[in-house]
């Protein structure tokens, strides 16, 4: 047992400024304020980082390392910076932001995995994309890119294939935009760089054996007198229906029992963050739809919150826009949980009947999204300072094509019926169909256990954390939008197994319906009020500085860490993806379980690969 589970975290000082003052006193020459304009938190000497982390976690109660990421300040100090955001869970409050800097040539930062196990995947990601070596990391290898990849693409001097220009908009599009196709630039030609001295003849593919490092294979068959079997390596995925996409689990089995499990991801990696840094601030909004494509409305909201925070009071969101945002976010939560429960049951073997019942209800919500935002899934609805358009008066269509069937419904009546009747009915029906079933109970109860301390240590968030009995919900712990004035409970379940995660999602849907019932009168009161604050402009400039904006997405804490240099494009755009970080404890949860349960455990975490791989 590592030390993160043993010591008691009791905060000595509660408010953030006095904590920082006390820490500066404690480490007089290692901790200093980050005085750059628009920045917050402290800069810690890299050598003292583990000690600092141990103190803030053990003595000041910052037991939850939410986000860890790196920034390349090429041309602005020429250093790499690792940024940490630590929270107190479950008490909540603003995060303690601390940073460590290192040079670009030989970047080394001490690893925090032994103190915050949740740093595991995030440090690997920073190593993968920035080349920062985290000294002491137990398994520091690439996570999103393949093992033979040359270079570290998030560095500012890296140019991807089809690179055209540093930032959008590209000059070739207007006023003399003679069209060409990007792939006409041969990807094996001048747009891809090979390492010095590379020839195809002396290229050796990365062996699978290297890949399996740390999987505890290669056991002597005759060595174990009780059970004479070799360990067997089974690859679940990447193409397997249970993985909900392209995701691979390398499972070392002893008989039917899982000895170790390592998630392998990145099959859907497109370097969302690099695209984000080339994009304008507005241009990123539709890209956030593609992260967790089940909950695009909630992704939009988190990104809008982040940029609004960076604008520092230059934009204000009108009340009606906030009401609509919460309406959309809570409907999205129901969509996600319906989907998640449906597909968990698929993983358990109830082939598609519960999933289709859930999807049918989801369709009604998507119809509303389509009529309001213009798209069922890729909503692109929130704007920086409001929303795209007000709710339409009627959900109606025009027959533009042959064979079109036309619908015409009053929007408010539709919403009322949806919220007061249809959604509660569907949730109750799912409850009746599934909750008491003996098959589900025997498959789920006591399987995939994640104790509360472990959930916090591994930076699990959302339903995964709350099903382990930790009452931490960002809507209450760090309220945003109009959540402070809404009545709802933070649901928890005590046991942290698959069944509790399933029940928690039902509970959360009921709480969402409760919130939506409070939203309806507010929608009526504010009818006709503005939905956008300030002047609509297609290109905005964001003042220099940084911000970490986060929201309680259906899958967990979705955070955006953005750095602006004052221009029309983000200097850094990082996504703290709940689907990605919630996979950190997957190996621990599966240890000692049967191989058939691995599928159900993964289903209960509820990941979307678009967000995991980014």
């Amino acid at each position: 047992m590592t030390d993160f589970m043993t010591d008691q975290a009791l905060p000595k000082v509660t408010d953030l400024p006095s904590t920082i003052a006390a820490l500066k006193e404690r480490f007089p020459d290692a901790v200093r304020d980050d005085t750059r304009p628009g920045y917050e938190g402290v800069i810690v000497e890299a050598a003292k980082l583990p000690e600092f982390a141990r103190v803030i976690r053990g003595e000041y109660g910052f037991n939850y390392l939410s986000s860890l990421t790196a920034v390349d300040y090429l041309g602005h100090g020429d250093h790499l910076e690792v940024v940490y955001h630590a929270f107190r869970v479950p008490s909540g409050g603003k995060p303690l932001v601390f940073k460590a800097q290192t040079d670009r040539q030989n970047p080394v930062i001490p690893s925090l995995v032994s103190i915050y196990p949740g740093a595991d995947f995030q440090e690997r990601e920073a190593y993968d994309l920035y080349g920062i070596h985290f000294a002491g990391h137990p398994n520091l290898k690439r996570i999103l890119l393949w093992e033979g990849f040359e270079g570290h693409p998030m560095r500012k001097d890296y140019q991807e294939a089809y690179y055209e220009q540093e930032t959008k908009p590209f000059d070739s599009r207007w006023p003399s935009g003679h069209v060409f196709r990007a792939e006409e630039y041969n990807p094996f030609g001048h747009n891809v760089r090979y390492p010095a001295g590379f020839t195809l003849d002396n290229y050796k593919p990365i062996s699978e054996a290297e890949f399996q490092h740390g999987m505890s294979l290669g056991v002597d068959i005759m060595g174990d007198p009780a059970f004479r079997t070799d360990r067997l390596l089974v690859n679940l995925g990447p193409h397997h229906p249970s993985t909900h996409g392209v995701f691979r689990m390398m499972v070392a089995l002893n008989g039917e029992t899982v000895e170790s499990l390592e998630p392998v991801m990145g099959y859907l990696h497109r370097n969302h963050e690099k695209i984000g840094e080339r994009n304008t601030w507005y241009g990123n909004m539709p890209y956030t739809d593609r992260l967790d494509y089940i909950c695009s409305m909630a992704n939009n909201l988190a990104y809008a919150i982040t940029v609004e925070q960076m604008m520092r009071g230059q934009v204000s969101v009108p009340y009606r826009a906030e009401v609509i945002r919460v309406l959309m976010a809570e409907l999205t939560r129901i969509v996600n949980h319906l989907w998640s429960i449906g597909f968990l049951l698929n993983d358990l073997g109830a082939f598609f009947t519960p999933a289709l019942y859930a999807i049918q209800t989801r369709e009604y919500i998507l119809d509303f999204f389509e009529a309001t935002a213009g798209s069922r899934m890729m909503c692109n609805y929130m704007r920086i300072g409001g929303v795209f358009k007000d709710l339409p008066a009627r959900i109606r269509s025009e027959a533009a094509l042959v064979n079109d069937r036309v619908r015409d419904m009053d929007t408010m009546k539709y919403l009322e019926q949806l919220i007061n009747d249809r959604l509660p009915r569907s949730i109750d029906e799912l409850d009746e169909l599934l909750s008491e079933s003996e098959i589900i109970k025997s498959r789920c109860i006591g399987v995939g256990l994640l104790p509360a301390e472990m959930a916090i240590a591994y930076s699990a968030s959302g339903p995964l954390l709350r099903a382990s009995g930790v009452p931490y919900d960002i809507r209450r712990a760090n309220p945003y939008s109009i959540y402070p004035e809404l009545e709802f409970d933070v649901c928890t379940r005590p046991n942290g197994d698959i069944y509790d995660r399933y029940c928690l999602r039902l509970d959360e849907m009921r709480q969402s319906v409760r919130i939506l019932k409070q939203i309806l009168p507010r929608l009526k009161e504010t009818a006709g009020q503005p939905i956008f604050g300030g002047k609509s402009s297609y290109s905005i400039k964001v003042p220099a500085g940084e911000a970490y904006g986060f929201a309680e997405n259906p899958k967990g804490e979705l955070g955006f860490y953005c750095v602006s240099m004052g221009g029309g494009n983000p200097w850094r755009y990082h996504v703290r993806a709940p689907s990605f970080i919630n996979l950190t404890p997957l190996g621990e949860m599966c240890k000692g379980q049967k191989v058939a349960d691995v599928v159900a455990i993964l289903g209960s975490i509820d990941i979307v690969l678009g967000e995991t791989d980014r």
């Binding site: 006023p175 389509e370 009529a371 935002a373 269509s397 003996e438």
Partner: protein, 292 residues
């Protein structure tokens, strides 16, 4: 009792089964009636809600967005037949997140100075992410999001870069697919006409905007995707400005290259006219919507 939970769950499934049949019997023979359809699609419905695509389709709501198209005056407009609304200001190309819009700004041949008309306008619809920013930020209501989502074709390299002729649709098409939005935009413009036209008319001492024609029905039903590659304007009144069709993508879309002529996309397919057809496929007639 052990097993009662399963029985309870099976009860729910059974209820679903029964309601579906009750629904079917209740609406026996009237499945395609408009009132029945509205009832079945409503939130109160407890039976099946499925729509038999592609025999019948759910019409998309007004705000639905797919790929963009360019607005022009109607071709039978007495004053400005087929004139582009686009002024090639380039805002759509700048705001486009995946940068799929390419505009060549027009120049006046006499003075050599830029004029507010696009010479060429391309959209790579493979790259378009259907976000709708171009339509949202266009100051002239000149680019709108289309509702036609059936864009599959056999050849993406030649058929998926839309040129100006392929993108242009008459304003009456926009009025037909999104009447409420079109009316709102018209009110915001201060009349039916394009804002620049209104300014010019004002200068010339005319009424700023003419009362526009309001089409209530689509001008013509959308043809099948393969035939849709043919540009929209009818041959009767090709406008001078929009008359320069870009030859390359359009011509190739209409007539596949020589290699395609020889090799069927699937073994055993035969050629009918320009298209490859599976001779064994069961072809069902397209059922038309019953008029009420």
């Amino acid at each position: 009792m052990y097993g009662s939970g399963i029985l309870k769950g099976l009860g729910v499934t059974f209820r679903h089964l029964i309601t579906t049949f009750i629904d079917d019997i209740q609406w026996l023979g009237r499945k395609r009636d408009v009132e029945v359809f509205q009832q079945k699609q409503s939130l109160a419905n407890r039976g099946l809600v499925t729509v038999e695509y592609p025999d019948e389709k759910l019409a998309v709501p007004e705000r639905f967005r797919f790929t963009p198209f360019l607005v022009t005056y109607n071709h039978d407009d007495p004053d400005y037949p087929g004139k582009d609304w686009c002024t090639s200001c380039g805002i759509c190309a700048k705001v486009c997140p995946p940068q799929c819009i390419w505009i060549v700004r027009g120049t006046d041949p006499n003075t050599g100075r830029p004029k507010p008309e696009p010479e060429q306008f391309y959209i790579d619809i493979d790259i378009c992410m259907n976000c709708g920013y171009c339509a949202e930020y266009c100051p002239f209501d000149a680019i709108k999001m289309d509702h036609n989502y059936e864009l599959a074709s056999y050849d993406r390299t030649s058929a998926h870069i839309y040129d100006k002729a392929r993108l242009s649709r008459e304003i009456r098409y926009w009025q037909s697919i999104a009447p409420t939005t079109a009316a709102e935009e018209q009110a915001a413009r201060g009349g039916y006409d394009h804002t620049d036209v209104q300014k010019a008319r004002k200068k010339a001492g005319l009424e700023p905007s003419r009362p526009g024609p309001y089409a209530t029905k689509p001008a013509e039903p959308e043809p099948a995707p393969a035939a849709a590659a043919v540009a929209e304007p009818p041959a009767a009144a090709p406008p001078v400005e929009a008359a320069k069709p870009e030859p390359a993508p359009k011509a190739e879309a209409a007539a596949p290259s020589a290699a395609d002529d020889e090799t069927p996309p699937h073994p055993g397919w035969v050629k009918r006219g320009r298209r490859w057809i599976d001779p064994n496929a069961k072809v069902e007639p397209v059922r038309r919507k019953r008029q009420t």
